[in-house]
Symmetry: C2
Subunit: 302 residues, 2 copies
């Protein structure tokens, strides 16, 4: 049983309470609490799974961990609020921890996130040197009319994306990316209520919108803006782009482009269709999940 | 540099925001959000550090992880709301995960906690078999006038505790305990605004109140209710009692005892003094931190 199979069995049975607006399965859960709703998400970074010890500074690991979570808050149309951290490792170099917290603090200040709690534990003896499991839970806020969910795509809308895709690892984009909070705030509620951040690859994440919304997706693979050094297959499958993928009513696209205040590219990538629910097709009617693109997997796929 | 030394350096520098009522350092952080305030805490359970693989069922590990966090919410005077989970391990037995989630789900339902998110990751190759790092972040709510903080003890108050202390590990209390949510709700705001849950040992945790409140503590060591099989040193040092330790105005003690609706014992353990701030003395004027009790450490001390 792999992670996805376990989650398929477990997710529908997880208990919720009367305040749950959206349970697990989107970028964040949404909890009714006051006039703004609360967003909750958690993510982890593991040595030799998500980074190579010695090749990535503790500051960069901490910044990546927080920014991954900020990207999830952005994708829901929200603003970040508080973070809680855990570290479990066998590193006994105190300076490593101080550097890690320095990176966390710098990034948290940059995005006005409070670091509200944490825990540091040991690992059992026998793990390889420099093993580290770092987790970060984030809370955020979202106005109910700005909430963006994967399930909200409508046939007839166009698919748009921010930035460029592919080659995230070799280019170091997976460490140096900027979470698209400002762009998401511009879009959420006004231009879109269906958005996610591309962490596991454009094709897989587009498929997630298709499945959650029970719509088809027609992707113009030649329209995808490529990051330097990226090919179309890399753009479809590499992952860790941390760009926004969202759907917009077709008559809003030109207004969006006109008002778009950011230097970052914003691109029409395709169309939402009623046909082929749950699937992603290319412009020539080819099922991308069944094509030779379908084999691409997130490099860090667990 | 050990965990405490790292935290001493790092905690005061962690960024907060305008909504922070109480930052890291108590059982939970307190965040202003709506009319009820939010409580946030995170804790972790690591194989061979917090439990022995093969001797503890996955259900019991999950229940302990959630109950530890529920105990923190109780200690603040709050009620639990939502939980987020991470697992990083090298267990490839799918049934282990299903059992873990069954234990989590049962306990979450019992306390009306929504399980709002999670993440499952791998560990790097080379860790010992059955290595697992499980973390759980909890959110809770507290009415501002019920909030209980370590810093709120006042000289002249008496120190009280729920339940019994010591021998938590051999007795399996560290797995089978009940978080004292109902008792804490009875006490918070009405009888006390200074409370914590005893996780690291009665003496160490009493010292934490003494330090945070800048008061002294006079502990009647012979008054401590002992768990079956426990000695006084074990009651002072073993930890993982998950009982409430709180301070009460002396003229409220008899009213509290009269109205106490629970079968659980509630006991006067000593007095809060203006003298010797930050220290814990026994009834004969002996500094317990400097005595032969001072060597006792949480068995799982990291």
């Amino acid at each position: 049983m792999n992670e996805l199979e376990i989650l398929e069995k477990v997710l529908p049975r997880l208990p919720q309470n009367a305040d749950t607006v959206v349970g697990p399965g989107d970028d964040c859960a949404v909890i009714r609490i006051g006039d703004e709703w609360q967003l909750l998400a958690v993510d982890q970074v593991v040595s030799n799974v998500h980074y190579v010890p010695g090749q990535t500074t503790p500051q960069a690991i901490a910044a990546k961990l927080l920014k991954r979570n900020l990207s999830d808050i952005a994708a829901m149309g929200g603003t970040p609020h508080c973070a809680l951290l855990t570290l479990a490792g066998n590193i006994d170099d105190g300076q490593w921890y101080l550097d890690f917290f320095a990176g966390l603090t710098d990034t948290a200040k940059q995005y006005q996130v409070a670091v509200s709690g944490g825990d540091i534990a040991s690992l059992p003896a026998g793990c390889p040197p420099a093993t580290m499991v770092a987790t970060l839970t984030i809370t955020g806020k979202v106005l109910p009319d700005r909430l963006c969910l994967r399930r909200n795509a409508q046939p007839g809308q166009v698919i748009m994306g921010t930035g460029r895709f592919g080659n995230s690892f070799a280019s170091q984009h997976h460490l140096n990316f900027t979470p698209r909070l400002a762009e998401a705030q511009f879009l959420a509620g006004r231009f879109t209520v269906c958005m996610l951040d591309v962490s596991d690859g454009l094709l897989l994440d587009l498929g997630r919108i298709a499945q959650a919304s029970e719509v088809g997706m027609e992707l113009d693979v030649n329209a995808i803006p490529l990051r330097a050094g990226a090919t179309i297959p890399a753009a479809l499958g590499d992952g860790e782009d941390y760009e926004l993928l969202f759907t917009v009513d077709s008559d809003q696209v030109e207004i969006l482009r006109w008002e778009w205040p950011f230097d970052l590219p914003v691109t029409v990538l395709g169309r939402v269709t009623a046909a082929h629910p749950g699937l992603v097709f290319d412009g020539n009617g080819g099922n991308l999940f069944a094509s030779n693109y379908s084999g691409f997997q997130h490099l860090n796929k667990q």
